[in-house]
Subunit: 92 residues, 2 copies
């Protein structure tokens, strides 16, 4: 069975975010005043096979812990949906 | 008034995603079989000032078009919420 997942990976609160700071500064340079904070994270969308939802959640959590997020400095959340077979990825 | 936005930036369908391909390959190397596709995008979370929702949406769309996304190869979507003053960013 095909599953589609959306994973959001964020830096933990308190971890410096130079990419976010650079983005904030660039927005200010472009004339956008009033931007107080910018944090940049990752969006990872996956399509994968798993026999049922329980197994799919388990595998997805393992993928996040082992590769998609760095648990020392990042946190993640995900949403998991049953995908349609042969639908292409539906991710783009 | 303070606004908090979450912007998701994705590569358009058909645009090659080498980071996604590398992630898929790395997952396979780690023993996760059955991963069919991985697409990697950006998550940008902002806190900014704007007098009302209409103005906030307008500014946010401009920020996306001008800096946060590359409209040639990327698409974006956003969610906008009224933030709480003095709440810290609430983004991390």
């Amino acid at each position: 069975m095909r599953w589609e997942a959306r994973v959001l990976v964020r830096l933990k609160a308190g971890v410096l975010d130079p990419q976010g700071a650079a983005t904030r500064s660039a927005l200010e340079s472009l004339g956008f005043s009033g931007v107080e904070e910018v944090r940049v994270g990752k969006l990872v969308e996956l399509a994968f096979q798993a026999p049922n939802r329980e197994e799919a959640e388990l595998r997805l959590a393992q993928m996040c812990h082992k590769l998609l997020a760095n648990p020392v400095i990042e946190v993640f959340e995900y949403a998991l949906d049953a995908g349609r077979e042969g639908s292409g990825c539906g991710l783009a």
